[in-house]
């Protein structure tokens, strides 16, 4: 399961999450969503540190964050 879950239909391609990500794993993808925006996508789920910055600045509540529980 993914750590950074981006709802592509909500994303408006504003790029704020990309500007605040400390590990630079978010990019604008090259596909379009139903509203004609190019949604953000995560390039490397394993690098996510779960800092929560992207979810905090997202104006469209498009990002949800999860993390594996250590066994």
């Amino acid at each position: 399961m993914e750590r950074v879950s981006i709802d592509e239909q909500r994303c408006k391609s504003c790029g704020l999450c990309i500007s605040v990500c400390p590990v630079k794993i978010l990019i604008i993808s090259d596909r379009l969503n139903a509203r004609g925006f190019r949604p953000a996508q995560c390039t490397d789920q394993d690098k996510c540190t779960s800092c929560g910055s992207c979810a905090l600045v997202c104006p469209d509540v498009a990002i949800e964050l999860y993390r594996e529980v250590k066994a």
Binding site: K12, C14, D60
Partner: protein, 252 residues
């Protein structure tokens, strides 16, 4: 066995599952989300009534799972006062932009603050009238170009910007007045903390509370969302300093 996942961040329960009509990068969405998170965390969903303004956030009532009403232009604090007086057990907040609160609704907000009834106002300051196409607002900075000040705002013809938080903090009525910014993760965290105090001021029956949020309007500022955030830090914050201007005992 399926991997166990811990939730770091999920959509608030009081946030309706809808895509907002706001422009990409508009911080109205951030302010909305903070309200929804606090309503969830403070267990207020069943008794919250939101009062929505005229402006970009006129359709705000659509995005939450609690009850909402729509006020006439600038009259949200008056309406919120009426609702609070007749339903003292409900949690009532008004959400207003700067054209709504600082221009046509200036009398209502000043008297609501002076009366000091326990209502909460979330004030979005983005320096222009966003919905109608970026006209000059009372909070437009000197020199800022808008569609009605195409050469930049000048004090001779347009007067000076109004610092609403400082002005209202001089009154004896309010319990909590603060200015926050929605420009970066750290400031958004501080904004949420300020809004929590403002909500507490009402829940504990202490008095009127207002949180002014420095926001962006990328479309009418003719900037990208990321450039707009930089403008807030470089140009808006020096004129509209962040901080708590009035904190009555018991709010914290």
């Amino acid at each position: 066995m399926a991997e166990q996942m811990k939730v770091i961040y999920e959509r608030p329960k009081s946030w309706a599952n809808k895509v907002t009509h706001y422009c990409p990068g508009c911080t109205h969405g951030v302010a909305h989300r903070l309200i929804a998170e606090l309503v969830d965390e403070m267990g207020l969903m069943d008794k919250t009534i939101g009062v929505w303004p005229v402006g970009c956030s006129v359709l705000g009532y659509d995005y939450f799972n609690f009850d909402s009403v729509e006020a006439a232009h600038g009259r949200a604090p008056a309406m919120a006062t009426g609702i609070k007086v007749t339903n003292p057990d409900n949690f009532v907040f008004a959400y207003q932009g700067d054209g709504d609160l600082a221009s046509i609704g200036m009398a209502e907000i000043v008297h609501a603050a002076a009366r000091g009834w326990p209502i909460t106002v979330i004030f979005i300051n983005n320096g222009n009238y966003g919905m109608t196409g970026g006209q000059m607002a009372p909070t437009t900075l000197l020199g800022q170009k808008t569609t009605t000040s195409p050469l930049g705002r000048t004090p001779q013809t347009n007067g000076f910007p109004i610092r609403v938080a400082e002005m209202l903090a001089q009154l004896d009525g309010p319990a909590y007045i603060a200015r926050v910014s929605l420009d970066s993760p750290v400031n958004i965290r501080k904004a949420k903390s300020a809004m929590r105090k403002a909500f507490n001021a009402q829940v504990r029956g202490i008095g009127f509370s207002l949180v002014e949020c420095l926001s962006t309007c990328p479309t009418n500022w003719r900037l990208t969302p990321v450039e707009s955030m930089e403008r807030v830090r470089k140009e808006v914050m020096p004129y509209f300093p962040l901080g708590e201007f009035k904190v009555v005992e018991g709010v914290l």
